[in-house]
């Protein structure tokens, strides 16, 4: 028998080395807004910053094509929104389907590969290659093969999100707490039960981090792929508006993309708060 020597007095594996979701909460309602005073301060700073930019741009007669003032961006956002909205829809379709495919494959691979440390060692360099290669670089190739429709973009999003989900989820699944596994085994738990009742819940915080990073990488890749080719999507709007020097509209699209990113962040933050807050 080659059992590990039981040594539990030491700090449990995983303690303190993981990025916990709640630690990422720098601005997404992290400390919670407490008083009217704080609200007033936040609003005041926002007014000063945005107002200051507006004032400076007008004062120094900065040309519209370099930097449009916030007021004209806000106006463009409302004015053009009916025209931009369908493109937002296209981008969301690419993001959601590509992310779903990539995340599903990444999760399954992470769960399987961490069960076989030997196989993991062999596969690791390729995973690293997938994580570090900007999948945007493959988009021209994908377009050549699949045309200008959804397909190359969804593939690119999946390729960008999948490895991010996988590498983080694998870190989560590798957090073996031998005492907890021993606990389950002492009741005669099967390997599958140990996976679902111990390993999966232990990995959940890292899985959520992976899903969040994967979704944000997916968004980047979707927009990038749209900029490379094809006649629709928010990325395509960016190239179109900039080529027509419609900078307020251009920045309106940028603003929508920022909102999407923040939405992804807040969504996973809330999920983490609900399901992985025990980690805090």
């Amino acid at each position: 028998m080659s059992d590990a020597i039981p040594e539990f007095s030491k700090a449990k594996s995983g303690d303190g080395q993981d990025v916990s979701l709640t630690n990422l909460s720098a601005f997404a309602s992290g400390p919670g807004i407490q008083s009217g005073k704080e609200v007033a301060a936040i609003v005041a700073v926002a007014v000063i910053v945005i107002g200051g930019i507006e004032l400076a741009l007008r004062l120094f007669h900065v040309p519209l094509y370099i930097m449009p003032p916030p007021s004209s961006i806000a106006y463009a956002l409302f004015d053009e929104f009916p025209l931009i909205a369908p493109h937002l829809g296209y981008t969301l379709v690419e993001l959601l389907s590509g992310f779903a495919i990539g995340a599903a494959v990444g999760l399954v691979l992470a769960a399987v590969i961490t069960q076989f440390p030997f196989a993991e060692k062999i596969v690791a360099p390729y995973i690293l290659l997938l994580v570090t290669t900007p999948m945007l670089a493959l988009v021209p190739l994908l377009i050549l093969r699949f045309g200008f429709g959804y397909t190359p973009r969804i593939i690119a999003v999946a390729l960008a999100a999948g490895p991010m989900v996988m590498i983080n989820a694998a870190t989560g699944f590798r957090r073996v707490d031998s005492a907890k596994i021993a606990l389950a085994r002492s009741y005669g738990a099967s390997t599958l039960q140990i996976f679902w009742k111990i390993r999966a819940p232990m990995a959940l915080p890292m899985i959520l981090v992976g899903l969040m990073i994967g979704a944000i990488f997916g968004l980047l890749t979707a927009v990038g792929a749209e900029m490379v080719g094809g006649g629709f999507g928010l990325g395509n709007r960016l190239t179109t508006y900039s080529s027509m020097i419609q900078m307020p509209q251009f920045f309106a699209v940028v603003l929508i993309l920022s909102m999407l990113g923040i939405l992804i962040y807040v969504l996973f933050f809330l999920i983490g708060k609900k399901w992985a807050s025990w980690e805090a």
Partner: protein, 276 residues
């Protein structure tokens, strides 16, 4: 109370030998260690650090295989985790993502059985945790977590309870409280208990028998009977008898620790040394 007189021991350890194969070579953790635990008995195991106490307990639980030798429960050799053996781990070992109720339900979930609600309620009441079912482990003190772990270990009504330094992380007052709780539970259930500890006082207070293991490789170096009737009060801890017994055990352990060569054969009589 010494419930002897039964020919088959409840839990029998026979010439248990355990070798760990580590990167830096083989490590002999237990060397032909033999020990019998009778039905309804409380036996504590003490010994110098790293002497194989936990290895012995894990082997008794069936979580570890032995390199050679045997563990017998009611006369039958066990080959893996056994439903009749409950374990209380170091540092409670509750699942942090489950609230207290769900933690205590855990053994039943694994077994695919319906939780015995009346029994759980009784146990929770016994350890003073009723009303805490919705709390998560992080919301409970160390002592409360360990109480919950005891309830979890007893939930399936095991006939043997193995406790692996369960109160090592607690402050001394909480520890005394927990010791009295263990005795109360024992008076209630008469579960056979094997208790591993670093604290000689704790071992004496709780046990019918204190077993001293030798330094690695672990074998039984000495055994002491603790004759006090139950329920025991903390006052007995101040008696001359307990004082003497504590010192003798302490000397045994110090002697074990002072032996330079682990492989060396030894009898406990030769190696008792006076602490400088």
């Amino acid at each position: 109370m010494n419930a002897g007189d039964i020919t088959t021991p409840k839990l029998g350890v026979q010439a248990a030998t355990k070798i760990y194969h580590t990167a830096s070579g083989d490590l002999l953790a237990l060397d032909r260690c033999s020990l019998d635990v009778k039905t309804n008995e409380i036996v504590s195991i003490v010994g110098p650090s790293g002497c194989g106490k936990t290895t012995l307990l894990w082997s008794m639980s069936g979580l570890h295989g032995l390199t050679s030798g045997e563990i017998r429960l009611d006369g039958k050799a066990i080959t893996g985790p056994h439903p009749d053996i409950g374990i209380v781990f170091q540092e409670a070992n509750l699942l942090p993502w489950r609230n207290l109720d769900a933690n205590i339900r855990f053994p039943f979930e694994i077994k695919g059985e319906k939780p015995d609600r009346a029994w759980i309620a009784h146990l929770l009441n016994r350890v003073g945790l009723d009303g805490f079912g919705g709390k998560f482990p992080r919301e409970l003190s160390g002592g409360m977590q360990q109480r919950a772990a005891i309830v979890r270990a007893l939930a399936l009504k095991p006939s043997v309870l193995l406790m692996d330094e369960p109160f090592g992380a607690l402050d001394s007052f909480t520890r005394e409280e927990m010791n009295r709780l263990v005795e109360e539970i024992w008076l209630d259930t008469k579960t056979t208990i094997v208790f591993i500890t670093h604290s000689i006082e704790e071992a004496i207070f709780l046990s019918d028998r204190v077993v001293v293991l030798s330094a690695r490789p672990g074998r039984v170096a000495k055994e002491y009977r603790v004759p006090f009737p139950r329920p025991r009060s903390l006052e007995i801890m101040a008696t001359r008898e307990v004082f003497d017994l504590t010192n003798r055990i302490k000397m045994d352990i110090v002697g074990e620790r002072a032996t330079p060569k682990a492989e060396q054969q030894r009898t406990s009589a030769e190696i008792v040394r006076i602490r400088p």
